[in-house]
Amino acid sequence: MGDSSDEEYLHAEWVPYSERADWGDVTPLPQDDGPNPVVAISYRPKFREVFDYMRAIIARGEKSQRALDLTTEALRLNPANYTVWQYRRDILRELDANLQHELDYLEEVIGQNAKNYQVWHHRRVIVEMMNNAQFELELTQNALDNDGNAKNYHAWQHRQWAIRTFNLYDDELDFVDRLICEDPRNNSAWNQRFFVVKHFGFTPEVIERELAYAMDRIRVIKNNESPWNYLVGVLRQSKSGQLNSNSAVVAFSEGLYNAGNRSPYLMAFLIDLYQEQALQDPSAGEAAQKVNTMCLDMANKHDVIRRKYWEYVANHLKILLSKPSQTEQT
């Protein structure tokens, strides 16, 4: 994606810098890759020329409009060149450039390179320079709404940064809710939900509400890891932090099990729930027995790919349960 096509190079519009009158004062500066370079890239002629001029401009320390335009061209050829991005920022500072134009330019660049670290970093620095994040929610929303990109890590990271830095939490829950409705398996959206709810605070009422939200989603798709993880995460925010801290959740999960559901995520939740009970009250053997039975069911039927893991979980609990009795004896 970074490298432009030959077609573009051969296109009549593009005039090599060596043939441009306004660049006549610049002598291109070739790259020194040592006498016997390895992993040598067979650069296309345009790539080579643009970077020869880029080096020459940096060597002169020239920070001008044409230098800025040259960085645009160099970054179109290789948007991952973090040094050229840095030089571009130095030019922008020197020229006291209109940073709104830079944001517009970046909107286009990010549209084409939404999974490139450097473009998002540049965006962050420019927003910091402007001390204004009014376009960041829209920018990241567009990136996430782009077909198949609702889990774009860069976009989410940038969005979280903007929300955190500029206190833009207010409407975020609505946005997240929309994404979860569109795709209940969007784990990025679930994570963002946790981030926002945590900011406002996990009060008992909020915990209740969020548990209900997660259970509603699980009812629709039981075999979906994201709301199960969210459910556990919210339960851990309760005062006791225990998985049995909310009776509705216990009834809900046991109800699913009794109705015949054997989703590995449900089973894993129940195993953890009973394991906690077994460890809290080692004299009650029933919970430990449930863990053992369910682990073996997982290993042999419902989650065979993790057979060794579930056998390990069953054994691990036995070891944990045998430990306190040992200390009692000594």
């Binding site: 020194d32 390895v38 992993v39 067979s42 650069y43 060597a59 991952a80 991005w85 398996r185 993880n229």
Partner: protein, 388 residues
């Protein structure tokens, strides 16, 4: 297309790993990269890393001729930045060779220095390549490099890749830890704030995010755990936390491994998740046969190499990490890999010898300085000991 060939084979027979094809594939990258890889211009050192370390895992370092070995080492050292006194440039290896001009003009060379700085990922991969090729690192001033690492650490404990123009996140926390560990020197790097940053990125589902409250991710979970191990701080996590992290990791296996819940599997996560589980001593809990089957479904049987998905184009990154994933399950013909440094166990043994040598020399210096034959500098604070 290569997968048609597969269809004709007996499906009950496990597919072979085409060892020599992969080796040839990696050697080709060492020589010349096609123009379509121009956007990797700044990360060529990482391609050398994938190729050299891949050949090492393939037990095929002999394919690197003495001349090529010398060329790789010289080219690698050619990217070393050594700042002068009162220069703010960060020591280390450059990613961007585009900032090295071909000129005798002193003024031009001087001016370009302002845009030459070390990059943690390139420093890590360059040192790993040198160690793998048996170089003794004698051309490195270890203290200066570690000063360069400390220079890019932030107040929150995270690291940037370089002094200017880089984001700071878990990837560079990992690179910082590998560099300090490999050079057996932590200098003024703050391990405590580093620990705090890592732990503040542990999420509610017990994966680690790239930074703070981002989404749990397989690559960053590896970076976090490896950095904890390499800095001798893994023991600070309590048993319940370790079990929960293990759960998150084990749940990433579908057939191959995915990087996040509800995402497609990808060959590279056979390394990231596999290595993270090995660090926690939990890799043996995974399904080796399914893992192998998936990795091999991404093998290019025509030109060698591995891709992220079946029927996709292979690349050096997925080729190396696919081979490491296979090494973890004990694939015959492959050398085992040291999970947290992501180099072969043989290269790791070389490194340990260097450490012993350096410590011996340091002891000798200490003796000469103090003149006290009874004083012996101990290495108890060394991260190496605690990371074993």
């Amino acid at each position: 297309m290569s997968y048609h060939i597969v269809d004709m084979t007996d499906p009950s027979e496990p597919k072979p790993v085409l060892l020599s094809k992969h080796a040839k594939h990696l050697v080709r990258f060492l020589h010349l990269l096609p123009a379509r890889l121009s956007s990797h211009d700044n990360t060529r050192s990482t391609i050398v890393f994938f190729a050299v370390c891949g050949l090492d895992v393939l037990n095929s370092l002999h394919l690197i001729t003495p001349q090529l070995r010398k060329d790789i080492i010289d080219w690698t050292y050619g990217g070393l930045v050594i700042p002068r006194d009162n220069e703010k440039q960060q020591a280390g290896f450059m990613g961007c060779r585009a900032m090295l001009p071909q000129t005798e003009d002193v003024e031009v060379l001087e001016c370009m220095r302002k845009y030459q700085w070390g990059h943690l990922a390139m420093t890590y991969t360059s040192i790993a390549v040198l160690v793998t090729l048996g170089d003794d690192l004698s051309r490195l001033d270890r203290q200066t490099i570690v000063d360069g690492v400390a220079a890019v650490q932030h107040a929150d404990g995270s690291f940037s890749a370089c002094i200017d123009g880089s984001e700071n996140d878990m990837r560079f926390v990992y690179c910082a830890a590998t560099i300090c560990h490999m050079l057996d020197c932590w200098g003024s790097v703050n391990k405590e704030t580093m620990f705090q940053f890592i732990m503040s990125s542990l999420r509610y589902d017990y994966g680690f995010s790239q930074e703070l409250e981002g989404e749990s991710h397989g690559g960053t979970t590896f970076c976090a755990l490896a950095a904890l191990e390499l800095s001798g701080q893994l023991h600070r996590l309590d048993a319940a936390t370790l079990e929960r992290i293990k759960r998150w990791l084990v749940f990433r296996q579908m057939d191959g491994f995915q990087g996040r819940p509800n995402k497609p599997v990808d060959t590279c996560y056979s390394f990231w998740i596999g290595a993270a589980l090995r660090i926690l001593n939990g890799f043996k809990l995974t399904d080796y046969a399914k893992n192998r089957e998936y990795i091999l479904s991404t093998q290019d049987e025509l030109i060698g190499g591995f891709a992220k998905w079946p029927r996709s184009s292979p690349d050096p990154f997925h080729t190396y990490l696919g081979l490491c994933g296979l090494a973890f399950i004990g694939e015959p013909g492959l050398n085992d890999v040291m999970p947290s440094l992501n180099i072969s166990m043989a290269a790791y043994a070389n490194l340990n010898q260097l450490h012993e040598h350096w410590r011996g020399t340091d002891d000798l210096k200490q003796l000469r300085l103090t003149g006290d034959a009874t004083t012996k500098s101990t290495s108890s604070s060394s991260p190496l000991i605690s990371a074993q």
